[in-house]
């Protein structure tokens, strides 16, 4: 009885509560001393030596933090299983439908008083939901989880939710069920409004972290609640308050007062309703900030109407010597950019991805950011801007270049030239996300050789099926080089004109790849077959608009239990093919959407397939547009 969705990628069928000590081989290295001391302690009632053994075991297990290791330890024997269950501190559920909430809560809730679980991570919708591919109301409701965990984990301190639907009701129940709650982070969630935020602010008296990141807030202008005012009036324990995605206006005076009485505050990210004048006030109240989300970064006054001067703003930054991370700049007035110079030398993270700035405006800033490790930027800075980054930021680990104009036919302001420059200057690069319209195999190959530490390589050539812009060849060789040369690669997203050859390379060399995204790629089902057979660590596969049929889908049958999920939309899958998968794989849930024609009759070709391993069986909350086979 083990959560299928935990980090360890073993299929459900291997889970066992048996005493047979043959559970995962990695369990064996733990048995050396402890097991020898006993007499197979699991089956007999606890005699003193066994009790000591279990106590010692629990103390040792406290040091095991990685879910993978804990899962292995829990397989050794029943007593280890129990001991591990009692001491697990974080429950990680990578797919909320892979296990029932009740079962998960029971598994780790032992020992009265809620066991030792202090932290829960829950992930819901498939990632393509971010791109409007999953209709509203699909699911991933947090309600049953809160209902199950409330009684089981009353001492829960940390909740992390990603792509879950969270209602104001749910937030109310969370506040009520977990009086010790210290951290609430919601990323890409939806379903709640400022009403729910008000409840959290008011009732979670020990709150240290409230991070709202790219959530969709359900607010109408006439329904706004002044949630900022609801935080405790005494000094708070707030360390992090991130709400730039809460796009509605808020009570600024209340925020300023809140910041003033939150001496531990280190991270503050405000929304775009904050002007530089207001930002100054906030910075004055919290000179100890390390992470600052700067809001609009423009004056509240009309241009030429006497707004705050740049040097006044600069004084604020001079006084904030602890800042290492900046973001925001939502409506940036470039004239204010020099104000951040005083902190540039210490910056390790800079998010300009909402700042429409040119290379010329970027240069004087980036030239001072020698310590930068994370940089997010818009393609408006062009290849020239990226060259400047390459020249200065030799310690860069993560780069994301987003398109200002996210359409297929856009001009595209960065190209292979920028990528090449980055590869030459930022040799320690580990993660890159790059949107462009023009790319060459040569630049990608160069990056594969110059940046051997790459763990994440996501290249999005926005125009569909675009070949190498110089040779006219498919982009197979470029991606082939990436998988060949970047031996630590675990996440890959491909684009451009790609034939089956690219996937042959990926299958052959991409042995560590866990997450793979493809769109408009490949010629035939061989591509899928290469991937399933070759990428032994494949955990998440997302495919769209590619010419793969049931044959390709079925070539994955032996591998689906090793994966968290497979998503395919707009390919050439049929109901029969999907049904066959569902029939042959009892521990998979196979969801299909878009299988109806105009007159409500079932069509053969389906639009969206989402399949995932699960111990819980078909979910009962599927809306009518989802068919579970």
């Amino acid at each position: 009885m083990r959560e299928a969705a935990e980090e360890a990628d073993s299929p459900p069928s291997l889970m066992s509560e048996d005493d047979a000590g043959s559970g995962g081989s990695s369990g064996e290295r733990w048995t050396a001393d402890l097991r020898g001391a006993g007499n197979g302690g699991g089956a007999r009632p606890a005699a003193p030596p066994d009790q000591v053994l279990e106590n010692v075991l629990e103390s040792v297990l406290e040091f095991l933090t990685a879910a993978r290791d804990r899962n292995a330890a829990s397989l050794v024997r029943r007593s280890w299983y129990r001991a591990e269950a009692r001491t697990r501190r974080e429950l990680f559920v990578g797919n909320c439908y892979a296990v029932s909430p009740r079962r998960a809560a029971e598994r780790f809730g032992g020992g009265g008083g809620g066991g030792s679980v202090r932290s829960v991570v829950l992930k819901g919708k498939p990632r393509f939901a971010d791109f409007s591919l999953v209709p509203y109301g699909w699911g991933a409701h947090v309600s049953p989880w809160v209902a199950a965990m409330g009684p089981a984990y009353p001492r829960l301190e940390r909740i992390f939710l990603k792509r879950m639907t969270v209602s104001d009701d749910d937030l109310g129940l969370i506040a009520q069920s977990f009086p010790q709650l210290k951290e609430l982070s919601m990323v890409c969630c939806d379903g709640f409004s400022t009403l729910g935020l008000a409840v959290i602010a008011e009732r979670c008296r020990h709150l240290r972290v409230l991070d709202l990141i790219e959530d969709y807030i359900e607010d109408e202008e006439d329904e706004l609640v002044d949630w900022i005012s609801k935080f405790p009036q005494s000094n708070t324990s707030l360390e992090s308050l991130v709400f730039d995605c809460v796009g509605v206006p808020f009570n600024f005076e209340a925020l300023e007062a809140l910041v003033a009485r939150s001496p531990s505050l280190r991270r503050l990210c405000v929304n775009h309703h904050v002007s530089v004048e207001q930002l100054r006030h906030l910075m004055a109240r919290a000179p100890q900030l390390t992470h600052l989300g700067t809001g609009a970064f423009r004056s509240e006054a009309a241009p030429g109407d006497g707004g705050m001067s740049m040097s006044e703003l600069s004084a604020s930054f001079m006084a904030s010597r602890s800042i290492t991370s900046l973001s925001g700049f939502r409506e940036v007035n470039p004239e204010y950019l020099p104000a951040i110079y005083p902190v540039c030398a210490n910056l390790t993270s800079l998010n300009f991805s909402f700042a429409n700035v040119t290379a010329e405006e970027l240069l004087p800033v980036i030239r001072q950011c020698h310590k930068l490790r994370t940089f997010w930027v818009l393609d408006t800075v062009g290849d020239e801007g990226l060259r400047a980054v390459a020249e200065t930021c030799s310690d860069l680990r993560e780069l994301r270049v987003f398109p200002l104009d996210a359409t297929e036919d856009s001009e595209g302001s960065v190209s292979d030239i920028g990528l090449q420059a980055i590869s030459e200057g930022c040799r320690k690069l580990e993660s890159i996300l790059y949107f462009c319209q023009r790319m060459t195999n040569a630049a990608v190959i160069a990056m594969s050789k110059n940046c051997p530490d790459l763990v994440v390589f996501r290249l999005c050539i926005m125009g569909r099926h675009r070949p190498d812009r110089i040779t006219g060849e498919p982009m197979d060789d470029g991606f082939g080089a990436i998988v060949m040369n970047c031996k630590k690669l675990t996440r890959l997203a491909v684009s451009g004109l790609l034939t089956d050859k690219a996937f042959e390379y990926i299958g052959k060399y991409g042995k560590l790849i866990k997450t793979l995204s493809l769109a408009f790629s490949g010629n035939s089902d061989m591509s899928l077959q290469y991937l399933f057979e070759g990428c032994t660590r494949l955990n998440k596969l997302e495919v769209r608009d590619s010419p793969f049929s049931d044959k390709g889908l079925l070539s994955g049958l032996d591998y689906f239990y090793n994966m968290r999920f497979l998503w395919m939309n707009s390919c050439k899958l049929t109901m029969s093919g999907c049904r066959e998968v569902a029939q042959r794989m009892p521990n998979l849930v196979v969801e299909v959407m878009g299988d109806q024609s105009d007159d409500g009759e079932e069509t053969e070709i389906i639009d969206k397939l989402y399949l995932y391993r699960s111990l819980a069986g078909p979910r009962s909350d599927a809306p009518s547009f989802v068919k579970i086979l």
Binding site: S132, D168, D169, V248, F252, D545, S570, D607
Partner: protein, 208 residues
């Protein structure tokens, strides 16, 4: 090949009154047709590796949902910014009501806006929202609403409640009187109230 929203769209078109020969449509299923064309061409050339160039995308490409893969959150931020004057942006005092950064439709499939309506139930403290286009008919809608509010009013018998809606003109109507597609296009807000309070609304035929 389109998802749920496209389906609902097509239903609506079926009930649309229009001049023209039956079987013609002014709004073709661009995405469906063109995607298939591209896919079929690719399949045909599977055997030949180097010439296995993908079929050149059709000349007049329809925008595809969710491509390029930029999060709707990010896209809507720039839409909102573009709606304002060009930088440096014009005066807005900070607590003035701006267009929200998250546009209401960013959670819905891009081409056809989701038909999100608020649902309130007498006695339940919080509002819900649903997308009417996800339901094929009244029965499904009712089942969904019952499921949604069963927590809030667990002891209450569903048949004690009537489902009403506010239409475009602001009138309160009983759900179920008009064809479903007409209902989805005119409904602005749903309200579940005690049946006793709903007397005088609509026709004797109740939603079953």
């Amino acid at each position: 090949m389109e998802g749920g929203v496209g389906y609902a769209d097509n239903c609506l078109k079926a009930t649309e009154l229009r001049l023209g020969l039956p079987g013609t449509s002014s709004d073709d299923h661009h995405l469906r047709g063109k995607k298939r064309a591209a896919a079929d061409d690719n399949n045909a050339s599977a055997a030949d590796e180097h010439d296995a160039v993908e079929a050149a995308p059709p000349a007049a490409k329809a925008q595809v949902v969710g491509w390029p893969p930029v999060r709707s959150y990010r896209k809507s931020c720039f839409q909102a910014a573009a709606a304002k004057t060009s930088k440096p942006t014009a005066v807005t005092t900070t607590n003035k009501v701006d267009e929200p950064i998250i546009s209401k439709n960013s959670a819905a499939p891009a081409p056809a806006a989701a038909s999100l309506v608020k649902v309130s139930m007498d006695g339940a403290p919080y509002l819900r929202k649903i997308d009417l286009r996800m339901y094929k008919g009244y029965r499904e809608l009712r089942e969904a609403l019952e499921a949604m509010f069963s927590g809030a009013a667990a002891e209450v018998n569903p048949s004690e409640f009537a489902i009403t809606y506010q239409d475009k003109d602001g009138d309160l109507m009983l759900v179920g009187d008009v064809p479903f597609d007409m209902f989805t296009s005119t409904c602005k807000k749903l309200r579940i109230m005690k049946r006793s309070e709903a007397t005088g609304l609509g026709s004797p035929r109740q939603m079953n």
